[in-house]
Symmetry: C2
Subunit: 139 residues, 2 copies
């Protein structure tokens, strides 16, 4: 069996400088970035931004047209007000609004935006999950 | 600023039963799944499988054709042998091989496969990052 974990999330981006500027505007701080790739230390995990053509080649399918959107990366917050603030900051940073935060059918509060490359982020308050002080989520 | 974390990764899937069977074949155990959505507890984080049409609607763009591939979800392992074993298990479970594990330019060892929906997973050994006993990654 394989461990139930994701160690690194890599987003393919069209313009690395523009993408780095967007995440910097959200307040994210790079660490250990290399030429052509930006890294961000997360909660026991790493996010990276990498050129979309280089990503296709790295995936073993040089020249492929990689599609966006079928993966959502969600951030949980402790309150609805924190969700609203995160959503507002994303729009102010250049994100495209997909759905403004609202109460949703499963009992939480959630909104969606797309980053400069169309990668989809959800910002949510989930009253049924435990969010630790350090940001770990437990069902 | 927003916290540097991803709480939940949601993969849009065409056939939830088929997708659940694939992840079960990898050894992943569901926890807290609901009708129409499967959940897996990870390292302070959750993975979910959700119908692709429902995901588009949830994202605020009902009917949209969501593309796959521009996000890579990578799993780090402690040795090259563990990478080989994870890759072999994925293929035996029905994954499509994109790139067999090999030594790569950045000094590690990595392979890629696609799940039944074309979501891209990387299996890798990275000698420059610290992998804790519980699976946390630190740069």
């Amino acid at each position: 069996m394989t461990p139930q974990r994701v160690s690194l999330i890599t987003l393919g981006v069209a313009d690395l400088a523009a993408s780095k500027a967007f995440y910097a505007a959200l307040g994210w701080v790079e660490h250990g970035s290399q030429p052509g790739v930006a890294f961000y230390q997360m909660q026991g995990q790493v996010l990276s931004l990498f050129g979309i053509a280089a990503l296709a080649e790295d995936q073993g399918r040089k020249g492929a047209d990689l599609g966006r959107g079928a993966v959502t990366l969600a951030q949980c917050f402790a309150t609805e007000a924190e969700v609203d603030a995160a959503f507002a900051l994303a729009l102010a940073s250049g994100a495209k609004a997909l759905k403004s935060p609202e109460k949703v059918f499963w009992g939480g509060y959630s909104g969606y935006y797309a980053d400069p490359d169309g990668h989809v982020w959800e910002v949510a308050f989930n009253p049924f999950w435990t969010l630790s002080d350090t940001g770990a989520v437990t069902m």
